[in-house]
């Protein structure tokens, strides 16, 4: 393994992950375009490397959310049934989808992500009655998922209820599928699933989504790994750079106003979408093969 290549992979993934971490995003959406468009690495190899880095970042970030008691672990395990089933379907599908179509799907996901980022996430948590009691119509499963989280601003435990679980699970199946196909954390589907369908408070949504991404990605990465489709020399530095970058990004997130960099990210996502779209059409803008 050449020193320059290892260093490039390490620094590129560190930069992508720092930038992603500053906006609380998984870095896969930046790493795959970076590796394919600028590193001229084969798309499927880039997806394999990225999916491992997505797991590493999820596990690295999950501990602090768990300690802050923001993660709803029961809801996570229920939704993971849908995301892992989606990931399994994604891996099975990936062998049948031509590379150009994968580039096109990636470009579409980048455009939707840019649109989501241009709009501010709104708190849509469903109202809880004064006692925070359960509703008679809640089934055996849903009744065990409502919970509370500590709100540091209010200084008290805030109860919340889970809405539209079936719709949430359907969207999570799609998120798992997209994650396995493209090697990304798939926030593009998880954000509407968590915010609009399940109506979770944003802090709980971010923590629970991060917690689930690791298992979702592991379901597909495990298959790619036993098939021998994960290139160690590429995935190793990318995973290491991503974990370090995500930790730096999370620290910067506290200091930098996310509003000030939101516009920049929309521009970057649109630019990457155009480049990935060109790759889908067989046009190279970066001088690659």
């Amino acid at each position: 393994m050449s020193v320059s290549m290892a260093l490039w992979l390490l620094l590129a993934s560190l930069a992508a992950s720092t930038l992603g971490g500053m906006l609380g995003m998984a870095s896969g959406i930046f790493i795959v375009p970076l590796l394919t468009l600028f590193g001229h690495i084969d798309l499927r190899t880039a997806i394999g490397a990225s999916i491992v880095s997505v797991i590493a970042c999820s596990c690295g970030g999950a501990a602090s959310y768990l300690r802050a008691r923001l993660t709803n672990v029961r809801l996570a395990i229920v939704l993971e049934i849908a995301t892992t089933a989606g990931a399994l379907s994604g891996v099975l599908l990936s062998g049948w989808i031509p590379e150009r179509v994968l580039f096109a799907i990636f470009a579409a996901v980048l455009v939707v992500s840019a649109y989501q980022m241009s709009r501010k996430r709104r708190e849509v948590a469903s109202a809880v009655d004064a006692e925070g009691g359960g509703h008679a119509k809640d089934g055996w499963l849903k009744s065990g998922l409502h919970a509370t989280y500590p709100d540091t601003q209010v200084g008290a435990e805030v109860p919340y209820r889970i809405a539209r679980l079936r719709l949430g699970m359907a969207l999570m199946y799609g998120a798992g599928l997209i994650s396995a196909l493209l090697g990304i954390g798939s926030g593009v589907l998880k954000i509407p699933a968590m915010d609009s369908a399940l109506r979770l408070p944003i802090k709980v949504s971010s923590a629970t989504s991060n917690f689930m991404i690791g298992v979702t990605a592991a379901a597909s990465a495990g298959i790619y790994f036993v098939r021998g489709e994960i290139a160690t020399a590429i995935a190793g530095p990318v995973a290491l750079g991503s974990v370090v970058g995500a930790a730096i990004g999370a620290k910067l997130l506290m200091k930098v106003s996310s509003e000030s960099i939101r516009v920049l990210f929309v521009v970057v996502l649109v630019a990457l979408a155009i480049q990935m779209g060109c790759s889908a059409l067989g046009i190279s803008l970066t001088g690659g093969a």
Binding site: M1, S220, G222, V226
Partner: protein, 117 residues
């Protein structure tokens, strides 16, 4: 009230155990990958024999395997904790997640041996 408090304590304890597992696992995998990367890069820079590079790749590969196994171990740990708390609904769901992952691995291994054969 006591039942609710006991329930909250069990969940808080579960969160703390899972945080510990994920944190330690991430450190271990990063250390393995970093050691492997240094080995492989030094072997290349000094044009040493190929065995150092092979050791480097093996270390990195075991680090990557640890990364991939970590969330699966987390689900297995959750299944055990749900069972210990007699929370059978969520114990069964955790087993379901493990079954889907195992099915995927079985398909992957079957596919690999089919191609290799």
């Amino acid at each position: 009230m006591d039942v609710q408090t006991g329930h909250d304590t069990r969940i808080a304890r579960m969160d703390a155990h899972l945080a510990q597992l994920l944190s330690a696992g991430t450190w271990l995998s990063c250390a393995l990958i970093a050691a492997g990367l240094v080995c492989a890069v030094v072997a290349d820079a000094l044009h040493r024999d190929a065995s150092a590079a092979v050791v480097g790749l093996l270390l990195m590969r075991s680090g990557l395997a640890t990364v991939i196994a970590l969330p699966v171990m987390r689900v297995a740990a959750m299944a055990l904790m749900f069972a210990r708390n007699r929370d059978l609904r969520f114990f069964a769901i955790a087993l379901g997640v493990l079954a889907i992952i195992a099915a995927g691995l079985a398909i992957g291994i079957g596919w690999h041996s089919h191609v290799a054969g």
